[in-house]
Amino acid sequence: MSTDYVMPKLAMAMNEGTVAEWLVSDGDFVQRGELLLTVETEKTAYEVEAPDSGFFRILVGAGETRDCGTVLGVFYESVEALTAPNADSQSQTPSAPAADTPPRDTNATVSAGRDTVPDKATAAQNNVVTSSVPVTTGRLKASPLAKRMAKDAGLDLHRMTGTGPGGRIVKRDVEAQLRSQPHIRPQSIGATANQEDVLATIPITGMRHAIASRLIESLQTTAQLSSFWESNLSRLLEVRRQLVAKEEELGTRISVNAMLVKAMIYGIRRVPIANSCVVDDQIRIHRDVHVGVAVSVPGSTEYDSGLLVPVLRHADKLGLAELDLAMKALVQKAKDGACTADDFTGSTITFSTTAGLAPPGHRSTPVLNLPNAMLVGPSTPKDKPWAVEGEIKIQTVLPVSVTFDHRALDGDPAVRFMNAMHEAIENPNLLLL
């Protein structure tokens, strides 16, 4: 009896990995939970634990790169199996007669006492630790903590392999699954037989749960006040056209968003308290500007969406082109599911645009992203008649909605911030400051 060990999928964006170093020797008895190897991806290096116990045969040497799911080694139950002439990966000897494999010791097997159905689709999708993750259909053995964590994260315990006593699913198994699949799709999609009118059922778990609880907390614990204005965008768009003409030299096609963040930073320079957080009964006004950028990401079904707010650090230290590049890279990283927990902490102000998605002239009352005291939410511009030097002209006008925490900012500083931002949008020369 043997179990293949495959290149694990350690991040959502990971398609292949390099075996940097084996942390065990060929033929060693490896204990479940022991560090097995170091895997390198383009982004980082991971130390990976052994998902199984057994005598380990290394099939792919250090320095080699393999696709996720490719067999790297095999766990054997005994030395005899390891050294048998035909000992090889299961996947490479599919014709091995079943009778040759002795029954596993019932104490040691993961699936003892359960009915298991191999599910190749799941295995390909999960690629977690072994080449075939069985789907449990019988009684599920999982610790209360593992159940709680799986429920919170929207994971299906039936598709997990337990490494606890008697094959019980324990905390480390859920953590391993979370590491390998940061955004798992809930399993209970689709109508059940007696609820034919339900298109999809989306459990409020995982990201959905995080969004729901944070927004409720925001609405229930702060004094939110929303405000709106319009700025003539025509001059800013003219400057942008000139910058876009220099796309090659600048290395990026400067976006309106980057210019609006610049205008926001100009506003913060004039009214620093706009860049503040309310934490532990204190208003902390920050010197550095770390912008939380709201990014819409796919949801768990085709019907819903997800929302992430990764942080653009030190936005105030970046020139316009650098800021534009950094913001685009951050948004892409979020959409790729490659952000880590660190990417989501430490924002001092929030930027949440609906431009392009919302109808022209759209206004809203955005909900504050805690603990930030200010959220700036521009939307889709609209061409409309506008008084320019005593004459009515058609101009492109940007609607901006903001929400601020009245615990931190009163009307006076809040409107001064808005006015400064408005000034910078209408006089883009100020963005040079």
């Binding site: 005598f55 040691a108 490494t163 905390k171």
Partner: protein
């Protein structure tokens, strides 16, 4: 050639020998002193017997205090000592019997590695084995200022061997051993001063627990000086004069004896480690991987001689891990120190598992802390031992039990429930939903768990 040779017959070593023999391996055990090691001969076991006897004395005193008994007229410490040695004798005899029953060959000698598969014994014999386990344990750490003679300057071994009590005893080091002897000696009428360099007693335990124990000790007449430094100004055959620096003041204090208990060091010298390439750390501990293997593949090390917590129950678990590995089985998970309980057997007892509040906060974890006083459990009042509390530390996000700390009567027995809960990954709601026998002191644990989930009743 044997399958296994075990060097050291303490709790780790003899359990390894028995487990290997039960699996059909040919095993030898080499012990230079007495089977059972420090734990059984000069540590946990005799001290637990003395604690038991001290507790009996204290209970008699309680009866005298309420007028229900007349004065006992003091105790005969020599007889108490004999009793504790009887207990040791009974248990070592038991281990000898187990060795015989399992056909483990016992050599009374010390041993050192000659090759990775051969040991030279101090009696001139040679033992060859495919696998070797080093389980040689640890010895008390000495302080250069305090030359140990086991007459005036004592280690834990010396104080367990002596047959008479001093009038005034200084204890240097308020870890588990220091606190246990402070309790024993003070209950037997010795005037005890407990000195600790760190700013709280039981430096490894939760601060709340340390403070409660120090306060309790002081209320029973033990002088506790934390954040103090001591050095001898003179040592004679009659006693010792100590220079004590405490809270910015210096003083000279005289004692009949001083007990130095400032930790333990691994017994890794003279084992021939260098000769065969077994790596050690700067501290002298033998380096091992998660399954007890040293830098030489077939040589393993377990217990106090390695860097894992110096506790008998850790050595026993490691013994089982190593034997599983040698047998090619993998049923046990590698040692997880967050699941290892600690117990201190003074009165009130102290026991814990997992992290302290300080450690949890330092790690940046968002935690919830609840305390339930043992006086809230009817049984504690009924048996006249209401002192102490249960403190639970849980993760705010998942409710995971990350630390549990108990001070009070039978804490060392109660902690095992929380070890079980933590190992099985039970949540506070599981504990709170269990039916506890009434009246018991353990009900405090259920009450504390109820408080975690905001359903307290008796608080």
């Amino acid at each position: 050639m044997l399958d296994l040779a075990v060097v050291g017959g303490g709790p780790g070593g003899y359990v390894a020998a028995i487990k290997a023999a039960q699996a059909g391996l040919k095993v030898a055990l080499i012990e230079r002193d007495r089977l059972g090691g420090v734990c059984l001969n000069w540590g946990c076991i005799p001290s637990k017997n003395l604690i038991h006897q001290a507790k009996l004395v204290s209970q008699l005193d309680d009866l005298v205090a309420i007028g229900a008994a007349t004065s006992t007229g003091g105790v005969d410490y020599t007889l108490m000592q004999e009793k504790s040695r009887d207990v040791v004798e009974q248990l070592t005899t038991g281990i000898r019997g187990l060795m015989k029953k399992n056909q483990v060959v016992v050599h009374e000698a010390s041993a050192s590695l000659v090759t990775p598969t051969e040991l030279a014994l101090s009696n001139g014999e040679r033992v060859s084995a495919r696998n070797i386990i080093l389980a040689t344990g640890s010895s008390p750490t000495a302080l250069s200022d305090f030359p140990v003679d086991e007459q005036v300057v004592l280690t834990s071994t010396g104080i367990l061997a002596q047959k008479h009590l001093p009038k005034r005893l200084a204890i240097v080091g308020a870890g588990a051993i220091g606190c246990e002897f402070a309790y024993i000696m003070s209950k037997l009428g010795v005037d005890v001063s407990l000195f600790e360099a760190q700013d709280h007693v039981l430096p490894l335990e939760d601060r709340d627990i340390s403070k409660a124990l120090a306060d309790y000790f002081e209320s029973t007449g033990v002088t506790v000086a934390v954040g103090s430094t001591v050095s001898p100004s003179s040592i004679t055959t009659k006693g010792v004069a100590l220079s004590v620096s405490h809270q910015g003041k210096s003083s000279q204090q005289n004692f009949d004896q001083v007990l130095v208990v400032v930790g333990r060091k691994p017994n890794s010298a003279d084992l021939g480690l260098e000769a065969v390439g077994v790596a050690i750390e700067a501290s002298g501990h033998i380096k091992t991987n998660a399954s007890g293997q040293t830098s030489v593949a077939n040589v393993y090390a377990i217990g106090d001689v390695t860097n894992s917590p110096a506790l008998a129950h850790v050595a026993i678990y490691e013994a089982e891990l190593v034997i599983d590995r040698i047998l090619g089985k993998g049923e046990l998970a590698p040692l997880d120190s967050s699941l290892v309980p600690a117990a201190i057997y003074c009165e009130p007892q102290v026991a814990s598992v997992g992290v302290t509040e300080q450690e949890a906060r330092d790690s940046g974890r968002d935690i919830k802390v609840v305390k339930f006083s043992l006086s809230g459990a009817g049984k504690s009042i009924a048996v006249g031992q209401p002192f102490g509390f249960v403190k639970l530390i849980t993760d705010k996000a998942t409710d995971e039990l990350v630390g549990a700390h108990i001070i009070g009567k039978d804490a060392s027995e109660m902690i095992n429930q929380l070890v079980l809960a933590k190992t099985a990954e039970l949540l506070p709601v599981d504990i709170a939903s269990s039916i506890y026998a009434h009246p018991t002191i353990s009900e405090s644990i259920a009450e504390a768990a109820r408080a975690v989930i905001d359903r307290p009743i008796h608080s």
